[in-house]
């Protein structure tokens, strides 16, 4: 039997061989300023709770969640608050940031890094620890994890899916973490399973990572409630909807949450963050990133402190062999093109992907020849060709009728388009327009 998957999808060049054999290297943080944006998650930005001149410690909360869907921000260094001011983020937007001058001492808050027995904690205590630690989905969306862990009907949850698909090309940080700290992944999953008594844990991995599959299978030996689920390698296998469908056969659409299908989906880094927060008393202050792409001299996986400058990380990959033409934060399918490296690393920064060429600039879009490749590639079973036609003609009603709002911008249609048409870009714009119109009503 072939491995579980979903209908549609594409097979881009994986590029994982560049960095998959490079162990995670912990970066010795540069002295100087660390910048913590108060908006690095979905939902309301956090409220800064420190002022200029304050002394802060490693792990100290510097931003307070300011709503139901919001997240705390903790300092990754010790030092003095230099400023609380708007700074540029990697998407070019300005946001309030707490700037801390690193004193290089890394003096931690009380209890930081000490063991804690999660079995002695109540469910609410665990949820509260996750909230206090400022944990959000680290795969890219940045949805506050404590909200995910508190669904309306906890008893209806029967699957905890750990997303180790890592279907984005080039990225290897989840892969390396599965190889290097499987016990933390299992530990984090056990914490979640404690909250959901009826649930079964599935660690979902694509079949292009046999070493990780083996490692995780060894790590879950003897765990009655945890299994490893092998999935077919195909983009976007790690999307929430495609993952749930492949692992459980259940399907959700835009108006449903994974919890409606009895699932909670968390990515590898997020589970590790949960483990560290609950069992090691360490809030979310570091993350693993992949520095890769053909421009880097030595592609590498690194463990970095949040708030450090992207530009300082370039040296970890031994600098650039060739001047990069394009630098992407995240994977090439859904990542964000950076215009400048002088922006801080956030909870959702999964990589620096530096490429010597820009495939997008190489091609000019030509007229659609209606080949239907976008229709076969769309994991949402949509008709991108018709959606684009409607959107480009300003027919947003038609766009909605064609279920354009079901698109989650995975980019598969644009990847396969032989006419090189910017379909996903058109949909992003149309979806934003429709959402803006809905808010007006």
């Amino acid at each position: 039997m072939s491995n579980a998957t979903f209908r549609g999808g594409v097979h881009p060049y994986e590029g994982k061989e560049l960095s998959e054999d490079r162990p995670i290297k912990t970066v010795t943080a540069a002295k100087g300023d660390f910048v913590f944006p108060m908006a690095q998650h979905i939902g309301a930005p956090a409220t800064p709770i420190v002022q200029k001149g304050d002394k802060v410690l490693v792990g100290q909360k510097i931003g307070e969640a300011s709503g139901f869907i919001s997240a705390n921000i903790c300092s990754s260094v010790s030092g003095t608050v230099k400023a609380v001011e708007p700074r540029m983020l990697l998407n070019g937007a300005q946001a309030t940031c707490v700037v801390i001058t690193n004193d290089g001492e890394y003096t931690g808050i009380e209890g930081l890094g000490e063991d804690r027995d999660y079995t002695k904690l109540s469910d609410d205590e665990i949820r509260n620890i996750v909230k206090e630690a400022g944990i959000v989905g680290m795969g890219g969306a940045g949805f506050p994890t404590n909200v995910k862990l508190a669904p309306k009907e906890p008893d209806a949850i029967d699957y905890i899916l750990i997303n180790g698909a890592e279907c984005e090309p080039y990225l290897t940080s989840d892969y390396r973490q599965m190889l290097e700290c499987p016990e933390e992944i299992v530990g984090g999953l056990k914490v979640i399973l404690k909250l959901f008594k009826k649930a079964k844990g599935l660690i979902c991995i694509e079949d292009n990572k046999p070493a990780a599959i083996q490692k995780m299978q060894e790590a879950v030996q003897g765990e009655a409630r945890i299994d490893v689920k092998v999935l077919k390698t195909k983009y976007p296998q790690g999307g929430e909807r495609t993952l749930i469908s492949a692992a459980t056969g259940r399907k959700i659409y835009s108006k449903k949450l994974p919890a409606d299908a009895g699932c909670i989906v968390d990515n590898i880094s997020t589970v590790i963050a949960i483990y560290r927060a609950v069992c090691k008393q360490t809030p979310l202050i570091t993350r693993v990133m992949t520095l890769t792409g053909d421009a880097f001299k030595t592609p590498v996986n690194v463990n970095v402190r949040l708030g450090c400058n992207h530009a300082d990380l370039v040296a970890e990959g031994d600098g650039f062999a060739t001047e990069p033409k394009k630098i992407i934060s995240g994977g090439p399918m859904m990542g964000f093109a950076m215009f400048d490296l002088n922006v801080p690393v956030t909870k959702t920064s999964s990589s620096i992907l530096a490429m010597t060429g820009d495939q997008v600039a190489e091609f000019d879009p030509t007229p659609c020849i209606r080949c239907g490749r976008c229709v076969s590639a769309c994991p949402g079973n949509l008709v991108p060709q018709k959606m684009a036609h409607a959107a480009l003609h300003g027919d947003y009603e038609g766009f909605e009728k064609l279920s354009g709002m079901e698109c989650y911008e995975c980019g598969s249609c644009t990847f396969v388009c032989p006419a090189k048409r910017p379909l996903t870009q058109t949909f992003k714009q149309a979806r934003q327009y429709v959402m803006a119109q809905r808010r007006k009503k």
Binding site: R7, V10, P12, Y13, P169, R241, S245, K251, I252, Y253, E323, P324, K325, K326, I328, G330, P332, M333, M334, G335, F336, A337, M338, F339, D340, M355, D358, Q359, V360, A361, F363, T366, P367, C368, I369, R370, C371, G372, V375, P379, G380, N381, L382, V383, Q385, K386, S403, E406, E409, G411, T414, F415, V416, C417, P418, A419, K420, T424, Q425, K428
Partner: protein, 327 residues
Amino acid sequence: MSNLLNISSSPHVRDKSSTKSIMWDVFLALLPAALFGIYNFSIKAKSINAVLLIVVCIATCVLTEYIWETCMKLPLTVSDGSAALTGLLLALNLSSTFPVWMAIIGSVFAILVVKQLFGGIGQNFMNPALGARCFLMVSFAGQMTSFTYDGVTGATPLAIIKTGKIPEGLSEPGLLDMFLGNIGGTIGETSAIALLIGAAYLLYKKIITWKIPVCYIVTFAIFFLIFGTNMDGVASMDITVLCKELCGGGLILGAFFMATDYVTSPITPNGQIIFGVILGLLTGIFRVFGASAEGVSYAIIISNLLVPLIERWTIPVPFGKEGLKDE
């Protein structure tokens, strides 16, 4: 920073295939049939006309597109190969003795009227090559239906099967001859095997899917088994006759190379199945009940016109919304 970085919205990578690579792949897939046509009608018959038709049709199509786009100050699309492909397809749909000047008119009609006047590549509502073929059929019926093979001018194999009349000097075509292509007909339609080699290449390269050709051929086969008649006009359910019907009359050329034309076939998966079924039914009706023994071209261009309607009926249900009512 000295060098500015490129920025763009995701995704940042693209697949290798392009409009150009697809068009030239289809062109390549037609070469076995074209080469066989040249062998069959030029080398064997010692006449240059078939080669000339292929060259002239391709050249005229490309030139027409070039001149039109230059005059109208449009971006040049000649290099994407679609005009050349139209020319080749048109030539393969002509009788080997067809006058060259008429072929030029047909080529200009295909590119100028059917393709460019409706907006160029991707905008034509019917297959340009078939549109031109039907235009020539109406304009020059005599020349279009005059087929010479082995020095004898006469009816096509399908006409022989349909009417039961074997013209003087010809024999009833054997199935093997029809499969290999040792029969009369248009330049590109005679050899089923050469066409199937090209079709296999297209399927292998994932340029076409099985849906349209298989639904087309299967529907036609079922229709013909039920309603078809043998040489004596009696309903026969004769498998040999059916196989001859499948090999002849451009059915394979049409099913794999022209019905699958991206621009003029549905893009929805279910729509492609319906499209194939409609094609099969129409071809069956035209061949069994129509005046002529062939009907592939008309079946395809009529079905082309139904495509917008078919697509409207067959928009797929989005992922996760199966069985739900529209809100």
